[in-house]
């Protein structure tokens, strides 16, 4: 073998071995760990209408829920040490125009003051999960809160930036319907993905955004509502994302990769054979 020919073989072999090695080694990197419970809600893409007003629609049963543990609200007064709602299962769906999120949670009694809420950060600024309260070293943003209460029978689209600033918005874009059965509330919230209202969270398919949840048990105990105002079950910030439309161009790139690799093999072997013949 001549030096040039051998160098070519060596180069080809190195590329081949490193390519195969990279495939095996990088593919063995473990995925990030999410810890206990879920970390994100996935709004599945559907082609039909979203079940905006139907907590018992059959489609909900086809969607894998994300589960989030809830804690008593102890961050600011008035605190509460124990709450009724301990965790929530969240399902999501969208059709590119509208989204719906179903909150399913255990509450032994159906009460007029039972309530549920979903909170979002608005825009690009990070906001504290407790009503977007002021942070001392970081300039925070607003939060958008979708609030549903059994006795109201509808949702209220709200805005807050700090304690005692929570107020209903001028433009109400959110709807909600709740159904209680056998100790389980199923509450569905829905809204267009995009509203054009700068006080609202804007949902773009494929983009991760923050979300948090809150629940109130409106049972009357000793003549008073058990959980109200800041006395509620809360979650931390988690994530949600509306599923983007499928991108079939990926398969084109896969085929291209296979063709290039096979072509590389072909030319490598041909080069070695020609070298041997000469």
């Amino acid at each position: 073998m001549g030096y040039k020919k051998i160098f070519n073989v060596a180069l080809g072999l190195t590329l081949m071995v490193t390519g195969v090695g990279a495939s095996c080694v990088f593919a063995s990197d473990p995925p990030p760990e999410g810890g206990a419970g879920s970390v994100a809600v996935r709004l599945f893409l559907t082609e039909g209408a979203v079940p905006a007003d139907d907590p018992n629609a059959a489609v909900w049963n086809t969607i894998q829920p994300a589960e989030f543990k809830l804690a008593p609200q102890v961050h600011w007064p008035d605190r509460i040490q124990e709450v009724t709602v301990k965790s929530v299962n969240v399902r999501g769906i969208h059709n590119g125009q509208d989204l719906a999120m179903l909150l399913e949670y255990a509450d032994p009694s159906e009460d007029a003051a039972d309530a549920a809420a979903i909170e979002f950060m608005v825009g690009d600024k990070m906001a504290h999960f407790a009503h977007g309260q002021e942070m001392l070293q970081v300039e925070g943003g607003d939060v958008n809160i979708w609030y549903w209460k059994k006795e109201h029978g509808k949702a209220t689209d709200m805005t807050a930036k700090g304690f005692k600033t929570l107020r209903p918005q001028e433009n109400q874009n959110v709807s909600a319907t709740g159904a209680w059965q056998d100790g389980i509330w199923r509450v569905v919230f829905s809204r267009p993905l995009q509203t054009g209202d700068e006080q609202d969270v804007q949902v773009t398919p494929g983009e991760w955004r923050n979300v948090a949840f809150a629940f109130w048990d409106g049972e009357i105990v000793d003549g008073a509502v058990k959980e109200k105002g800041s006395q509620k079950a809360v979650s931390s910030w988690w994530y949600f994302r509306a599923e983007p439309p499928p991108d079939n161009s990926i398969y084109g790139y896969v085929v291209l990769g296979i063709v290039l690799a096979a072509g590389f093999e072909f030319f490598l072997v041909r080069k070695i054979r020609r070298g041997n013949e000469s």
């Binding site: 030096y3 990070m126 990926i250």
Partner: protein, 241 residues
């Protein structure tokens, strides 16, 4: 197994075993990408070594060239050759797919757990003496205000802890308050989660800003009660010198 190719293969396997299984016995495990880099460097070194003279080059590359061209091969070697030629493009295709396929995982978060405190809190000393009465009072205040999240056993497992992300600190863990000075705890309790800098993600913390509810004296005594109850000692300036 005397040929240079076999020696290189043994070297690579030995290097992999060393990096993957032996090295973690004395230090932190290496990431897979770093192991791959070291293996690639080992292979490159071996190739440079064997291509320094024409003789060793022929010895090294001869079997490879014969394998790739299939000259004089039959049976197992021939089948292995076909297998390699089929598997390699498929691996490239699979790798392309895993790199481009959309992920269902949210963005990774690198949250700093113990960020630097603001200057005005550095080096503050607890103005109250560590007397049994002060420690007792601190533990009582801890029970009232802190234990719902941080736990009656100072282990971060209070009844309200479930569901918070990040979870409340476990003071009995040697990696938390034992690594910190009293002045650091004073800052964290007084200013709470909202007082954290951006790298600690203050928007996620449920730690109250206790300065709006508790006097400084109570906070200092809570710190005493915390260390005593968790069986830890604060880090001091003397230890750092």
């Amino acid at each position: 197994m005397k040929g240079p190719l076999a020696k290189t293969a043994i070297l690579l396997v030995g290097m992999y075993v060393f990096l993957k299984f032996v090295l973690p016995l004395v230090t932190a495990p290496l990431p897979a990408s770093l192991i791959f880099l070291y293996l690639a460097l080992t292979l490159a070194s071996a190739m440079i070594f064997y291509t320094m003279s024409g003789g060793s080059l022929d010895e090294f590359m001869g079997p490879v060239g014969r394998f790739l061209t299939g000259s004089g091969q039959a049976g197992v070697a021939g089948t292995a050759r076909i297998l390699v030629f089929v598997v390699f493009p498929l691996l490239v295709g699979w790798q392309t797919y895993t790199r481009l396929a959309p992920s269902d995982m949210p963005p990774a978060e690198n949250r700093t757990i113990h960020p630097a405190p603001p200057g005005e809190f550095v080096g503050l000393a607890n103005p109250y003496p560590t007397t049994p009465e002060n420690v007792m009072m601190g533990k009582g205040l801890y029970a009232a205000f802190c234990s719902p999240c941080h736990g009656a056993n100072f282990d971060g497992k209070g009844p309200a802890a479930v569901g918070f992300n990040p979870p409340p600190a476990n003071f009995s863990d040697p990696g938390t308050i034992a690594q910190l000075q009293e002045s650091y705890l004073f800052w964290r309790i007084k200013k709470g989660g909202v007082g954290l800098p951006v790298e600690a993600m203050p928007w996620k913390s449920a730690m109250p800003r206790w300065e709006v509810e508790l006097p400084d004296e109570w906070i200092w005594k809570i710190i005493m009660g915390e260390y005593d109850g968790a069986g830890q000692s604060p880090r001091t300036w003397e230890e750092e010198e």
